[in-house]
Symmetry: C2
Subunit: 367 residues, 2 copies
């Protein structure tokens, strides 16, 4: 590998001049600049980013800690984040916690050791030790998806409770009577908030929200399937189901079909997330869609602010809007034949982007 000195020698200048031209940080005579450029070209020289990082204390790298990037929701989120990072010249180091606190910590340390400029984190659990380690390191951090009020870190997420409430209201609008909810891992704020939104909507409508029609399980199709089976066992006449994630909804649809129920007719289901897949499964899933791109842009943007103006960075949370995408699973559109893909009918929850903002109250009484 040709290094800066090689280029300097070849161009007949001092090593510093090479840096001047590669960084454009310093005026350089047109002639010398040309010679240097030529030497760079001939030698195929590329500055060593490691050495540069050591000297500048900037790696142009960010760590991304997720629970499980093989889950379509996180896969779409991480891809959007990678894209937003790429757009601003950053590369991402990816780590999956995989439900192991140890592993999350290991990744945080790995990121720190490697001197990432900042880290984006969505811990497995709201009480993750990753937070402490990150705070102690005084490194720019943005939390996404999770909204833990106990930790003073900048965060970006959607209005989980509001979205769940709107989704549930839609279900109520279908005249359903027996409601169930499959929410996510109980240790996560989205799971809690979405379940709360579901319960609030029911309360406002005077519909009983029986505790044994609410399950907190993993954000996966498998867990959604198992939870639905269990729910159905206890309450066979469930006719409305709100799933706190599309993957759980996928499992729920499976379970509903397995037990001979016609989704959209016998029972209405609405999911949450709006992963691409939701428009292809049968029946097409009505879901509260998250704005992946907006979230990712905001996450990266805020992290960048934290990196560039550490003193100015605040711990406010950005709440982005969700949008109800109405399709077949709720019963609005006829299931199956001839439908083509849906033209969406949407209801949005309001956005309050980039504000210092209270976490939306879980229950604000009747509107």
């Amino acid at each position: 590998m040709a290094s800066r000195v090689d280029v300097a020698r070849r161009a007949g200048v001092s090593p510093a001049v090479v840096s001047y031209v590669t960084n454009g940080s310093h005026p350089v005579g047109a002639a010398t600049r040309a010679r240097v450029l030529a030497a760079i070209e001939e030698l195929g020289y590329r500055p060593n980013a490691i050495a540069r990082s050591l000297a500048t204390n900037r790696s142009h790298t960010m760590g991304l800690l997720l629970p499980d990037s093989s889950n379509p929701y996180f896969a779409e989120l991480s891809s959007a984040i990678e894209d937003a990072a790429f757009a601003v010249g950053y590369t991402v180091l990816l780590g999956n916690g995989g439900g192991e606190p140890e592993r999350e910590l290991t990744y945080v340390r790995t990121f720190l050791d490697r001197k990432v400029d900042g880290v984006i984190v969505c811990p497995d659990d709201d009480s993750s030790h990753a937070y402490e380690e990150l705070i102690r390191a005084r490194i720019p951090v943005v939390v996404t998806d999770r909204l833990n009020q106990d930790v003073a870190l900048p965060a970006v997420a959607v209005d989980h409770a509001g979205g769940a409430r709107t989704a549930t209201e839609h279900l109520i609008g279908h005249g359903r009577r027996v409601f169930a909810c499959i929410s996510g891992s109980s240790g996560t704020s989205p799971a809690q908030a979405r379940a709360a939104g579901w319960a609030d909507a029911l309360a406002d409508a005077g519909i009983p929200a029986d505790r044994d029609r609410l399950a907190f399980v993993d954000f996966t199709a498998e867990a959604g399937w198992a939870a639905t089976r269990a729910l159905l066992e206890r309450t066979p006449d469930i006719d409305a189901l709100f799933a706190a994630s599309d993957m759980q909804a996928v499992g729920a649809l499976r379970a509903l079909a397995d037990t001979g129920r016609r989704v959209g007719e016998d029972v209405s289901v609405v999911g949450f997330d709006g992963i691409r897949l939701s428009d292809y499964i049968s029946p097409r899933l009505t879901t509260m869609a998250q704005p992946f791109d907006a979230i990712s842009t905001a996450v990266v943007q805020r992290l960048l602010e934290g990196i560039e103006e550490p003193r100015k960075a605040d711990a406010g949370i950005s709440i982005l809007p969700t949008e109800l995408v109405i399709r077949e699973s709720c019963g609005c559109l006829p299931v199956g034949a001839g439908a083509g893909r849906a033209t969406y009918q949407t209801h949005s929850t309001p956005a309050v982007p980039f504000a210092h903002q209270e976490i939306p109250s879980t229950h604000q009484g009747a509107k």
Copy 2:
């Protein structure tokens, strides 16, 4: 951030000794070692990996270049690779080509600049310029999924053609007569090989494989949907469909349902990949499953060999077995109600792991 000198000062030793104990590379007196360890503990010292990389010329980092990690297939693959890398103490830098050759190149250069110890690559297209750049850099590389015979790089993948052939034979076993195939982007070897396997199986069975019943489109649900609609328009009586990826199959099932066809009864469908989702969609997808973990382990293993013994590394390709997972979409199992998840019936294509190995001929005549 406490640095090595701080620790040394506090422990009353020279900086070198600190390295000796953190690396265990050198004998150190029990007493001093204890003092150093204590100082490390008290200061919360962690070696700067960047500085270490600069000094050792090893980053314990690998680049992973994929077409699109938001696609469930790549999401599962990348997650498995991340896991395998984690297990051997490596961290992964993730990059998505996103169908843009420019972007692929940018990522390769970024990886190179950051001195990753090796890169795992699955280019958008078999003729990717990423290969050249990587070869020129003389850095350890392992290609995965793609099997480009023109480039002498170690590779790990499944027997695309063989798997497709077996899948198609299964379709033939169902007594179907009008066969279609939706394969992937024509510039990729899996797409070509799987299409060839499909054609070969038909040829052997004396069934016409009409060219206009074969489509090469993106490996996505959307493309699978559109291709199926187009195929159906031209040949309404298709009764057997082989999709070269599960996501395309998902789109195909959607299209088949849209046009009022009953999958499993009117038309048999078999996919390829075995993503987790395939067991949850309706109808459950019969698919030729890839061994994600084995692939990932092999990929990382071979990359490690390339890193540790550069001279010994060879460009052989490792072919891993696929396994036909039989479910509902082909017509073997009754669709829907009461089925529970399937107990699998499997047929494997043989594995020829870690061998110098010809790319399986696309047609080897009748067996």
